[in-house]
Amino acid sequence: MTATSAEALPAARDTTDAPRRWAAPLWVGALLIVLAFLVIYPLLMLVFGALSDSNPIVDGFGSFRPSAKHFLDVLANENVHLAFFNALAACGGGTVLAVVIGLAFSWIVVRTNTPFKGFIAGASMIPLFVPPLVAGVAWGILGSPKTGLLNTMLKWAGIDFRFDFYSMSGLIIVFGIYYAPYVYMFTASALRNMDPSLEEASEVSGASAFTTLFTVTFPLIAPAILAGSLLSFVVMLGIYGVPAALGAPANISVLTTYIFKLTAWSPPLYNTAAAVAILLMVVTAILVWAQQKVLSGKSYATVAGKAFRPRALNLGSWRWFTFGLALVYLFVVVVLPTLALIIAAFRKFLFFKDFNALFDWSQYSWVHFNSVFDNPLTMLSIWNTLKVGVITAVAGGALAFAIGYTVNRTTVSGRRSIDLLATLPVAIPGLVVGVAYLWAWIGLPGGLYGTIWILALAFVARFMPDTVKALSTSFLQIHKELEEAAWICGRGLLGTIRTIVLPLARPGVVASMTLLFVLAIRELGSSLFLYTSDTTVMAVLLLDYYEGGNTGKTAAFSLVQTAILGVLLGLTTWISRETTQNTRFN
């Protein structure tokens, strides 16, 4: 696709040659059509679904009677209100917690002499890689009001306190601790880029370290704090796994779980689901817009010029306290849930009559793993997941390369629209992409629905903004003159891309494809509406096990999935690093 039409791009300036003159508009047109097909068509179908009450499967599209009434009815529905406010409460509370944790960690890592800072910085990013459903399942095992492992231990210890993670506060805590890294990423880089003399000036002026922190440091990185909290809020809002695992037992619906519930009814309420999905999308879009606004505003914490020597506050013996805080966080986020999953997966029954029963080895076995692998769907889902991941990475990577190059490296008209269309999905939660693709393809006979491709296309569309952004960064690092030099040497555009741009951008391209692959294999939200029994993927099958109510099997498959993700992640990181290392030119 990149090949033939791109050949003529620079010739767009060469007005003497008629066929070449047409190449640029044709190329832009082709890209726009592809993007429209991936993004605009499904969204239109989603709006269509929300505005009608005809079932696409039963009625076909012939009997379309558009009416705003249906949409307004849905918005006026009490259950929708409840789900909406539950979502705001869970994500709002989670964001507050995430800001506290994220800010504390970024300060500890960037601005103090806490020991093993590198380790803390690396380890505190682990929650980003934990699939939300796995986290939810693990905390269900730990904190369910009756059988939760934490509560069992409290009972042994004779403490009259019980955790209940099947609740709004449980949801908030799990959201908060798992999505703190989003805040951390923003605040840590803001702190790192901040001119240390801004703080030194305060110190010389006579202010204490504490006063400096609250009158200079935090106000200066306020934009980063706001951007990070908006991002984490948006991410939480689109998450299905955590509220499905922790909210459902207590009958707490948030927007995402409510949408899925609507499609799981019999008969499925696709129209209502589309309407609620649009509500979710609008809220997300507003927040994303606000976040972009904050980020593009004057970020005054950074002063260009000289490289700063990082300034580490000497905490004295308090540094062991901050180190302890970091350890507690890691224990809660990584060690505890992992232990819970391991115990649940290997115990025949998740019941302990006393403390010693925990070490009764006769109670441990591979029985849950056996039953997981006895199910033919298990291997099928793993195989499907890999297939979808590879297709998404290759197709999405190629498309993102074409878009990134066209937007960043050419002056063709229409590239702004391409950029806009490619960035649009940033404001669409995965679950909404799923519902939109459902509406786009379910009514078309012989179409994509029921194949692996619909999943892959949905993922390509969903992750397009991240991929294009990652690739654009590496394009921007290649100086335009490197390309121009090749043109001067008589290379055509295609030849230049192949011999100059592609080799130089290779680390970026590999990294983006890796990112796409990882994102695709752990995606649950959009898969929920698009899989069939033949095309089930790991994330969906895990949800199946969980809803089947067998904790042991769920935990076992969670471990299997986490192990596979870990191996693939390690492998792709390794490949990515190898490529980068072989592409040093000086």
Binding site: D195, S197, L198, E200, A201, S202, E203, V204, S205, G206, A207, S208, T211, T215, V216, P219, L220, A222, K298, Y300, A301, V303, G305, K306
Partner: protein
């Protein structure tokens, strides 16, 4: 008069490499401005930051007023906020989330002892002093670079600290503004009677602002003297070269008499020169002199030579000549808009007082 700042044998050793500051000692009497001058990486900024307490010295002693603020051997270290100092940073470091007034009032609000008085009055007075009286309520982000630097200066002056530290405060400004602000800075500092330690790599700043200039290189203080002495009696061939004596003639010491030496330049003949160093007969020597001090077309009573103009470069306000002198090269500078000399043989005089001989220790030059 007691010293406002006394530095004795200061050493700062970072985790790796050579010491950044290696045994520096000097003092700044109250009301005087001392400028530390040197190329980047010479240790001048590290010295300043040690005085501020932002960097922790590994050896020596620093006293501000009569109080020792840093003496690592005794484990003594006073925090920056308790040193009663003001500091102006290279990047201004004005807080972008505050207005001009909030920036300047900040130290008055957060310092422990403030000598009483109304905060607003003090802020207004100081803003008037730096010429920002009408800008008090503006957000600092709306100011130009030069105005931001005035805010930074006002912020460090407002509480009348015992000692003012300035870390290349003008280097982020454009050339014209730098000259204007430099002269104004001197006026303000003298008007307030501040004691100052000023760090720069710019000679013209150093000469205008400094009551004394200390030239630093590789963590060592090479010479500390009033500007005229630095320019006319450089103690070291690096100081000579750094302050603009770019001509070097190589030779051998023939005779020595007090601080005068006679040096054999080979084919060019003999030259009389002043020397601050213990040169002995037979030593290899390098004679440094400024291009401005070469007198073309003159036959003086001493150090008269005959050279040949190889190239002439007319630069408008001045003309530079490349002169060959007995196989060695010399640059001569003639001020004025007329270039009076042509290519070819020419008599020239190198005034003995302006020729300085140093021991030849191989190449020493400033990039």
């Amino acid at each position: 008069m007691t010293s406002a700042l006394l530095i004795e044998d200061l050493v700062k050793q970072f985790a790796t490499g050579k010491p950044a500051v290696d045994g520096v000692s000097f003092d700044v009497p109250a009301g005087e401005i001392v400028v530390l001058l040197g190329p980047s990486g010479c240790g001048k900024t590290t010295t300043l930051r040690c005085v501020a307490g932002l960097e922790h010295p590994t050896g020596g002693r620093i006293s501000i007023g009569d109080r020792v603020v840093s003496e690592p051997q005794r484990g003594l270290l006073v925090s920056p906020r308790e040193r009663d100092i003001g500091m102006v940073f290279q990047s201004y470091a004005v807080w972008p989330h505050m207005t001009v007034r909030q920036n300047v009032a900040y130290p008055l609000k957060h310092r422990r002892k403030n000598g009483g008085g109304d905060i607003n009055t003090k802020v207004n007075e100081t803003l008037e002093l730096v010429g920002l009286g009408d800008y008090a309520e503006r957000p600092v982000t709306s100011l130009s670079g030069g105005q931001m630097q005035r805010v930074a200066l006002a912020r460090s002056l407002v509480y009348r600290p015992q000692l003012l530290l300035l870390d290349e405060p003008l280097s982020n400004l454009d050339a014209k503004l730098r000259i204007r602000l430099r002269d104004e800075l001197r006026r303000i500092l003298k008007q307030t009677g501040m004691t100052g330690l000023y760090v720069t790599h710019d000679q013209s700043e150093a000469v205008v602002l400094g009551d004394r200039i200390g030239v630093m290189k590789d963590g060592k203080l090479l010479q500390m003297a009033p500007p005229a002495e630095i320019y006319n009696r450089p103690a070291d061939s690096f100081v000579a070269n750094f302050t603009g004596a770019s001509n070097i003639l190589l030779g051998k010491v023939l005779a020595r008499n007090g601080d005068k030496a006679t040096i054999d330049l080979g084919a060019a003949g003999r030259i009389e020169a002043w020397t601050p160093q213990p040169l002995a007969v037979g030593d290899k020597a390098r004679v440094a002199l400024r291009a401005e001090n070469v007198r073309l077309g003159e036959k003086g009573p001493a150090n008269a030579f005959s050279g040949r103009v190889v190239e002439r470069r007319y630069q408008g306000m001045q003309t530079v000549y490349d002169v060959e002198l007995g196989g060695q090269r010399l640059e001569a500078l003639e001020l004025g808009t007329a270039a009076r000399h042509n290519d070819g043989e020419i008599p020239l005089t190198l005034p003995p007082d302006q020729c300085w001989a140093y021991r030849d220790e191989g190449a020493t030059s400033v990039e």
